[in-house]
Structure formats: C-alpha cells, structure tokens
C-alpha cells in the first residue's frame, strides 16, 4: 500500500507569456535538455509543471467539477488550487494530469497564458509565492505577435490587433459551453505584460523572443541561471541545436504538431517579419496603442 501523496519540495517556475510570444519554443529548449541522441518528439513534451489553466488539475485538486462553477468562482479557488498542486509529489502530478509525464527537468516549469490579475477577493489568481517560486516572462514585439496570433486563431490581422487592444479579452471565456481550459485573462498585450512586470509576489526574469532567436544558448543559460537549474555548456548547446526553429518546423511538417490547430504552428519564427505582413496603418495602430510598453521592453517604433 502506497502512502498518501507526500509534500514536494521541487520548485515550480512559471513560463508566462502573451500567446504567440515564444512560450512553446522556450518549452522545447527546456525539454531538449534531457534529450541525448535525438530531439524530443514535439508531440510528446509536456512540461513537468503542466499548464496553469489546466481544467483536469483544478478538478483533481478541489474535488469539484469546474464545469459547474462560474469563471469568477473558479478564479476565487485558483490561488489555493495552484498552491495545492505545487505541493504534489510526482505521483500526484501524474494522477492530476491523467498520466501525462513531465519533461524530466529538476524544476517544474509550468506554462501560463494567464495575466497576473487579482480575483474579485483581491487575491492573485496565480497564487503568488505559494504556487511558484519565480516566473520567466517571455515577450515578443507586438507587431510580430499580431500576424502570428491572426494565423493561430484563423482570423484576419485587424481582428488580432483588436484582441491585443482589448482590456477585457480572454481565452476560454465562453459561458454557453465548457471550454477545454479554465479562463485565462488576456487584458491586452500591454496589460498582460504590465501585470507580470508590476507584480511583486515572485521574482521575474524577462526573456525577449528576439534574444532567444538570436542566441538560443545564451537565452537558455540566462533562464536556467535565474531558475536555479545547473546544466553544463555542452548540454545547453545540444538542447539549442535540437530545438532549432528549422528542426521544429521539419518535425511539424513530417508529423504535425498537436498544439497547432490550424496549419503550421512553427510558421516563420523570425524577428521583424511584421515589415512584410502588416500594413503601415496596422503597424502605426499597434505602436500608438502599445508605445509605452514597447518602449519599456526595448521595442522602438521603427526597430527590428
């Protein structure tokens, strides 16, 4: 007979990002740290820490059917639920995630597209320091996010830009059916990044997509140093090779990618691609709305 789940001392670190900002790519880099002979299968690389908005893990933790709760009620319970999940040993994590195994890293990296917002009781939905010891915020030039988001959602670029400007936007916010994940607040591109940059609950490491693209080993080295995971340079270099964008795209073309619902998930992966994808008016509109946050993150109005 097994003992009940033991409390875990493994660190959880969020990989937080606005959608289409390189979160999956960062995840691929981390998963490939544990690959020796060949790149990990892009269709089989769940993070050890799961996803913050996972419905099954919430239900497992609270004994409730999240499908019987309103978004607001769920948000009131999420802080304690995420803290509870962070305390699980690996057996409990496996059960909570229907048997999906982790990536083998010493730290539980958890993916999140949740803005760092407060629920209607004034508590951080993400659970603060009780649910994770730190966060990596991955950011990308909003002019590159817009066409990528449009492609991902199967919408036109203006619709994507409007979504990025909407302070009330969310993923999985339907009320007439059960979305596959819990609601994730996405209060605009600026609002999302501000929410993480301005929170003071947990230490934050800022990782720019453009820097990850330019020099993946350096970006990965910086992330690992921040998170407190020790890896040698050779391992990091190999992971970067295995998670090279072209390599990922080849894998997707050969066997598809389960997280890419519409066509190619790994589309262009370039910095500054907006120059031939956005009209001048679209670029100006994004710069006008998000200028302050772009400036804060080092994206000049005419930069690459």
């Amino acid at each position: 007979m097994r003992l009940p789940y033991e409390a875990s001392l493994v660190k959880t670190v969020w990989l937080a990002s606005y959608p289409k900002s390189g979160n999956t790519w960062a995840r691929m880099l981390l998963a490939n740290l544990r690959a020796v002979d060949a790149p990990v299968d892009i269709n089989n690389l769940p993070l050890r820490g799961g996803m913050s908005s996972a419905r099954a893990a919430f239900d497992f933790a609270t004994f409730l059917d999240s499908g019987l709760l309103s978004h607001e009620e769920i948000d009131r319970l999420r802080p304690a639920a995420l803290a509870h999940i962070a305390s699980y040993d690996d057996d409990a994590l496996l059960d909570a995630r229907d048997g999906e195994a982790g990536d083998g890293n010493a730290i539980r990296y958890g993916k999140s597209h949740d803005a760092y917002t407060l629920n209607d009781r004034g508590t951080a939905v993400m659970g603060g320091a009780a649910a994770a010891s730190a966060a990596v915020l991955i950011v990308r030039d909003p002019r590159d996010v817009a066409p990528s988001l449009a492609h991902h959602n199967g919408s036109d670029i203006d619709t994507a830009i409007a979504f990025m400007n909407d302070p009330a936007a969310a993923f999985c916010g339907h009320r007439d059916r059960q979305p596959n994940q819990l609601r994730q607040m996405l209060p605009g591109w600026s609002g999302f990044n501000a929410s993480w940059l301005d929170q003071t609950d947990i230490p934050l490491h800022l990782l720019r997509y453009e820097d990850m693209r330019r020099d993946p080993p350096s970006a990965l080295t910086g992330l690992l140093a921040f998170a407190g995971q020790s890896e040698d340079a050779e391992t990091i270099a190999r992971a970067a090779r295995f998670a090279d964008f072209e390599q990922l795209r080849e894998q997707e073309q050969a066997s598809g990618f389960r997280e890419g619902p519409r066509g190619n998930f790994f589309r262009r992966g370039i910095a500054g691609g907006w120059r031939d994808e956005l009209t001048a008016a679209q670029a100006r509109s994004i710069e006008a709305t998000h200028g302050a946050m772009m400036d804060r993150l080092g994206y000049a109005p005419d930069s690459v």
Binding site: A56, S70, D98
Partner: protein, 312 residues
Amino acid sequence: MFSYRICGIDAHSDIHLPGVDEPALPDATAQPVTIRRGVVPGAIAGAIAHGPNWHIAASECLIEVPDVARFHLSDGARITYAVACEAALADVPIFLLGTVFGMLLHQRERLVLHASAVAVDGPDGPRAVLFAGVSGAGKSTLAAALGARGFALVGDDMCALSLRPGASPLVHPDGRQLKLWHEAVIRLDLGERRQERVRPVLEKFYVAPSGAMTAPLPLGAIYVLREARTGMEPGIARANIVDAALLLRRNAYRPQMVRRLGQNASYFHAAAAIAGHAGIYTFTRKLGFKRMGAALDQLQEHWAQIGLAPAL
C-alpha cells in the same frame, strides 16, 4: 422529506433534488443516507489530508464550494449542508448530487467511477457500458447521443460498481437526468427534453433521457475517453492489465480522495476482477459534434465484436 434512489442508495433529503427520479423500487439493501441543512463545523478532528477547500479524516469530510455552501459528511451516512450567506438555495443540489454524494461513496469504500453509462443488449440481458474520462472528455454528450439511438441511460456522471465473485460487477444507475450545456442541447436536437438549469448562473441544463434504467445491471465494458490529437492513434484499444488498473484508479470519481483514504489497492483488485468479465478499453477520437455519428458507429461495431449488441 424527499426520497430518492441514487447509485443504489436511498437518500432522504430535506431539500428537493432536481433531475433525480424518486425511488420506484422497494427499499435498497444499502444503508440509507440523510441530507439535512444544519451547522457545519469549521474543522474536523484527526484530519489526514487537506486541500484547497476540503479536509478528510477517517470517517468525516468537509468540503466547501466557495460562496455557495459547505458540506459535512460523516460515516458515509449523514450529509449536513450550510448555505453561504448570499447564495441561492437552488445552487446547492447540483453539488450535493455530484461531489458530495461521490465523496460519500468513497467514504463507504465503494468502487465509484467518473463515468456516464448506457444500457446495451447482451446475450443474457442488458449490460452497462461506461464512458469514463476527465471533465470535458465528452461523457454526458456521448450518453445523450446514444440515447437518441435507443440506448437507455444508466448514469450521467458517476457510476458505483459492486464486485461479485465469479460474475461481472453490478453497475447501479445514478437515477439522474443528463446534464448538458446549451450548445450540446442544440447540436443534439434535445430542446424538447430540456428541463431547468443545473444552477441559475450556468448555461447548463438537466435533460430528460429518452429512456433510463432503474435496476442495477452487469457491467459490459468500460471505455476511457481520450481526445485524438496529432501524433495519437485514434480508435478503440483494449488496455493490458497494468494499464487497466491505472486507468481505473485515475478514473475514480475523485482519485485524490481514493489515494488519501488508502483505497488505491481496491481499485487495482477491481481492475483484475473487471478484466475477467468485461474489458477496459481506451476510446481515442477527435472531438466535435460533426464526428459524433462516426463515433457512435465505431462503438456499435465494437459492441458487435465483443458480443454485446447486434451489429448495425
């Protein structure tokens, strides 16, 4: 007092439980349960585990649905509920019938799965076919769609099993109506059967099944529902005994409670007993209402293969 037959247990309740049939059978042999409004303690002595909104002791549990109600369960026989100050009483029954009753069954050390079920003809009479899976896997929708093809409902969300030596386990009907989201009611053309909302705040409704079983029936098969995503082979596959044991445990109604109460071993033993008389399968398919007809065809073909129902 209202009386109901839920998962083979007679429940005597001071609150009306919508979507449950009143018992039409003689008294069940199982110990009845009482459901009463009253004082719910803030803590329990000797708790062996705590969660975000629950405490478990050997024979007592506390569970809270924030801003709706708090529940106390003792000895698998008594449920006491306290309604939160601003909450509507109409919000309480769905949690009593779901989480709280399921926890009570776990407290009684019953084998209880997070599954819907329908009745399928077998060589020796009707058998229960179960569809297990996480919330959103499509359990209720599948049972509803099978209802339109004439398969009577056995359970919507929770199935209690009784093991029998030398025979397939018995599945006890949960005695409830289906619970479906507005979208599913429309897509499955069940508007005429739609009843009240399961909660005033939700676009989810009770839906009267076209036919329902009231007496327990032997288990025919268990399908664990999986979404077919890229890189996954769609179809129906029989689980080997090791996988079957894991699947059964992870599809317990509240697997963490099973683990915390030290009942994992009984689920492993049950898997072996079930495998001898009825298969445990994974059913991996693409989700979506457009694909529902194909999924039902696939199931019916499989039933013909395993000797359950006549072929299409």
